[in-house]
Subunit: 476 residues, 2 copies
């Protein structure tokens, strides 16, 4: 991958990336099947890709593990595939059971020999200075090897009431680059948060941790004996039919609350690296420079007299007049309007969408696939129209449909089309017809993207009417 | 048309409908090529259709004239066609020159014999009680025949600062159903407007007028001699090449300010008919019953804790959290977010869109045509995809394109398709290909709507690459 491996030769370092977030707080850009960790908020890289890329100079690919949940497994696997990182081990929780269970399972799955050191990274944080971050990680790894549990603390820049704070005690040595943790405070009221910011020895809990496999397993055995026992029973049942039920029965507790708050060998390394947890839409104010009126406006926007707003548009036009401290987010099938100070309630809104079983809570109109993507551009009684993009050299599965026929019109690039026994090459402005129940395959033999318009007709037009006969990817 | 003509036999009544509004204040639902008077805000009828339908019991179709401007001519003609009201005379101003010019021209175009009485109606007002309205019109027509200029006054229900007020003087007779107008006040400050509401003898100027042809032409000759002279010169030049330039040179003045404020024979008939000029998005609060939180929410909306808002969605989801006194309007290609008290600034926003030459100020993605409609559902380099709907029994022009080929896939209904010399009938799930430069025609021979997906490919894909060989409608 072109990353120089400057791995500390004396340390057997592993990385566990927690990528099971459900993405409710960035709705409508995130959906339950397209969570925050795969958003490309800051450019061409998803937050998961950035998280992995950031640590690769210190931890080789084959020492990384990504933990996700069943709902997100497909999209996470796709992210890894797309970047050529298929060899990263993917561990799928049937359902999220908080960080203690995820880390406890991951630690058990790592080889025990050679004193493995585990670094735990949330998959959806932003870090401006990756080099300083790696230096801090290296220091932390040494401490972990020495038997400490290590957490990284962020010097608070505002009295954030949504975070956990750690009070630091005495430095562990004369270099004063790490401190004993003396107290945890979760989501303090504003006055207390303000006092913490003034005090100077309180840090935000970043959620990035380091410890040896042995240290964390011993700590979990001591402080979370029930979880520990259940994980011991479960670790050899990954492929068994009981796994899902067993996992669902695990106690749901955070690593912070269940373990770190209770141990006496926790140290805090202050991290001054431009960290942001990108927790809500409000974070865009930290990630993008606001204009003279304090607005962060991205995409196709026109604004008259608004200030201090976050306006996130894509292709469609978002026009705003005289707004203050407001968030407007537009996506092809859903728009959100919400005051900045109510941004925490986005998750309540998504819960309401779930309650109404609205597809906008889970899916985008554009769905990414290992071979490319498709976008639903029109639908009505008895028909559905998609724009389908196939990456160069990729092909869809050989498949047929029991209930629909399809018309394909190539509009960009060239297609190798299999219909029944016939294979033909067609290019822009040519079309083919695929009757019901006829095996067919779409392939891009070219060097440029292939784009087709697919018109489906039939009584039933959902994705589950795909019978796959042969697939290049991991789909059955 | 099934309307009972209860025309006063003693009155030779004509109706002039002013339908030249540019529709900036209802953007993004209105566009310059889809103005407020054709919006269907309240149901299946456009405001223009409602305006005409309302007066038909009193004024027959052949006595109606619609005045519009060149930009709106197509869409207004389409509205009349769609309702079967083609015989209404359509007068097109090259450019709007305010109401005095429009009414002066229209009056000259009416036959002078039999003492014609002219009623002037804006095309974009809402009236809840059409029967009471017709009764008031009938009374007004009698007064107009007696030589009065008549305006209809609305008893103010709020201290609106955006309207003109008329102070009423003494009643013209013992019935006290009409009063001499004693003073005009245009857009008063709030304190004055509040005083007017309290006083009880001030009325909003509704913009609905009645006078005999002779009375208004004499009044214009006296009070607007320049406009009068230019209109005299212009009235026989409607078909001449000079018409446009001559019209552009007309003084732009309102009938109220130029004539009505200056005459001594103006009377006001109070109108208690649930009138609303539907002037801004805020009017939806008057037209639709708000819910318990004071919200008017139309279309696909989900709301958490917002109040006193107007939320206008269509197919796409609009989700709102904790808004107060806010307007959110969503259309397929543009969204507006604006506080209720800044609703007057929507026109400034549209001016900005015009300045940037953004298509969203003039056109919708769905364009209505005499034969049906089309919607642009996708577009990219070298291709454009439309959903085309053809009404039963209608057909598009016989046409060809110099730069594009087309693929048609029928998805609903049946199509009679002419391609070159070939005529064939195709139904849902069948497709045809139309090569570049090949004459073709699409027709719906059935009783149900025909819907096709049209995929265009070629280097140039705009509407002006249509060479019409034969058309059922008024297009060249």
């Amino acid at each position: 991958m072109g990353y120089a491996n400057v791995n500390h030769p004396s340390l057997n370092l592993f990385g566990i990336i927690l990528a099971g977030g459900s993405g409710t707080r960035f709705w409508p850009l995130s959906r339950s099947h397209y969570p925050k960790q795969v958003l490309r908020l800051l450019g061409s890289e998803s937050m998961l890709q950035a998280t992995i890329g950031r640590v690769l100079p210190l931890i080789p690919l084959e020492h990384l593990m990504v933990v996700t949940s069943a709902t997100q497994e497909d999209v996470i696997r796709l992210e890894l595939y797309r970047t050529g990182w298929d060899e990263i081990r993917l561990v799928t929780e049937p359902i999220g059971r908080n960080t203690a269970a995820a880390v406890g399972l991951a630690a058990r799955l790592l080889p025990a020999e050679n004193e493995p050191i585990l670094a735990v990274f949330p998959a959806d944080h932003h870090i401006q200075d990756p080099e300083a971050f790696l230096q801090a990680l290296g220091r932390g790894a040494e401490l972990a090897k020495a038997g400490f549990l290590v957490t990284f603390g962020i010097l608070p820049v505002r009295p954030e009431t949504g975070y956990g704070y750690i009070q630091c005690g005495s430095p562990i040595d004369s270099h004063r680059k790490a401190y004993y943790a003396s107290r945890f405070i979760e989501k303090p009221p504003l006055a207390q948060a303000e006092a913490f910011v003034r005090a100077g020895n309180y840090y935000w809990n970043s959620g990035i941790f380091l410890f040896s496999r042995k240290t964390i397993l011993e700590a979990m055995a001591r402080h979370l004996p029930e979880l520990d026992g259940r994980l011991n029973a479960l670790q050899n049942e990954l492929a068994s039919p009981q796994f899902e039920a067993m996992y669902r029965n695990l106690p749901s507790v955070s690593l912070d609350h269940g373990v770190l708050e209770k141990v006496d060998n926790l140290v805090v390394i202050p991290l001054d690296v431009g960290w942001d947890d990108v927790g809500t839409w409000g974070a865009l104010k930290n990630l993008f420079p606001p204009d003279d009126q304090g607005n962060v406006a991205l995409g196709n926007t026109v604004n008259v007299d608004s200030k201090n707003c976050i306006i996130y548009a894509q292709d469609r036009l978002v026009a705003t007049i005289g707004l203050d401290q407001m968030i407007v987010v537009d996506t092809p099938d859903a728009t959100l309007v919400c005051p900045l100070n109510k941004v925490q309630e986005v998750k309540d809104l998504v819960a309401e969408l779930d309650r109404r079983e609205m597809v906008e809570s889970s899916q985008h109109l554009t769905v990414e696939r290992p071979w490319g993507s498709y976008t639903i551009i029109d639908a009505g009684h008895g028909y559905k129209v998609k724009e389908v993009v196939v990456h160069p050299g990729k092909r869809l599965s050989l498949q047929y449909h029991n209930q629909r026929a399809e018309h394909w019109v190539v509009v960009q690039g060239e297609a190798l089309v299999t219909i029944g026994q016939e294979v033909s090459k067609i290019t822009a402005n040519e079309s083919v017809y695929i009757p019901v129940k006829t095996p067919h395959r779409l392939e891009n033999p070219g060097l440029a993207p292939l784009k087709i318009i697919e018109v489906q007709t039939g009584p039933y037009l959902e994705e589950d009417d795909i019978v796959r006969l042969n697939d290049d990817f991991w789909r059955g």
